[in-house]
Symmetry: C3
């Protein structure tokens, strides 16, 4: 039994991979949080996308008026889409990067900067903070992913 456990957690014996697993889980959870924030705004602003979601507000015209867009809902949705566009490449590139034998301290630097930048990005989007807060936090996360891509391609290059 413990032998089987050891085998299955083999990748997690590698410290850089463990660090990756921790930060990847954190940013995935952060991305998932956007669903709850969007749902919160949909309910408090009464702004829905599907007729069946407004059925509890009554029938016909009285419910139809809640089928609308709301600035706060749309803002949360844009933040969520931006997470998909940036956290998904980080997850993928970070996985390959963690398998490419990086120095632990260099890997931690990448993962920590990305995670911090994306948390700032979400705050900048939702509060919202004046630009270039959101732009800069986006660019920092983007640059971290490019840096990992460079290491991955340098290590694995096989066209």
């Amino acid at each position: 039994r413990s032998g089987e456990m050891a085998k299955s957690t083999q990748l997690l014996d590698n410290e850089a991979f463990r660090a990756y697993a921790t930060y990847a889980a954190i940013v995935l959870l952060k991305m998932m949080l956007m669903s709850l924030i969007t749902a919160y705004f949909r309910v408090t602003r009464k702004a829905f996308a599907n007729p069946e979601d407004t059925a509890s507000f009554g029938k016909g015209e009285s419910a139809k008026k809640y089928l609308r867009t709301d600035p706060d809902v749309e803002r949360a949705r844009r933040g969520h889409l931006n997470d998909l566009e940036n956290i998904v490449p980080f997850f993928g590139m970070g996985l390959l990067y963690a398998l490419s034998g990086p120095d632990l301290s260099t890997a931690l630097l990448h993962f920590r900067i990305f995670t911090g930048a994306r948390i700032l990005h979400t705050l900048a989007y939702l509060i919202p903070l004046p630009q270039p807060s959101r732009g800069l936090s986006w660019a920092v996360g983007y640059a971290v992913t490019i840096s990992m891509a460079y290491k991955v391609l340098k290590t694995s290059f096989y066209l």
Copy 2:
């Protein structure tokens, strides 16, 4: 040759990882199916997003009227986006979870419930079923991913 094969399928020797691979492939295929469903509605409802897609309907105004949104197309697109928002985190968290040495039976429980919930979610979205069918199936899949995140962070925690 067979030694090389064995090495490359090493992760798949682990039963929890094999189960993960199977269910991850199934939910990715389910997500990909949404592209075909959207395309089906675009063609049958004649509702397109790009001018070049309507060229076969003639030129000028006669084609331009098909550059429009349609409720069925938009519903399928919302279902697809919801899959991206939920199946992608499941894929990522599930991979880390499968590497974290879970009990096979616990892992199977997670993967099966998530897969069932997302199939129900798509049915609830497309038919559509009255709420809270869609909301509940969404919440069950979300809770499964959170549960896997807990195990991943408990096992790998390395900040």
Copy 3:
């Protein structure tokens, strides 16, 4: 130290996995490029989604007119979303496929065709090329991912 490195790059010792890492990194970078293209069109067409992004154009009504949609921006965004819908399943299915012990030459064929098809898809979307250029390049990438799914399920099947 070198022993540690060797362990951490173990998966990359497998040639099919190395090929996967290279092509996965390339298509993830291609997907990330869509962010820059969208930003380029937003700035040159002066078409923004957030009030704080137009603050540098002045206050009040003079800035508000830049809160608008633009056909080139929307086209780049549709291309980006299509990448998420197709490159993300390729990344996930390709990872499982690379672990399923494929022949190196077969694996390279899958990865190369997918990568070529998605680059063509982006060109067809942005230029834009007349249909069925975009449709065909989309279908080729889709078929490659289905073919990898077949191999994954055949190898790992564990319901």
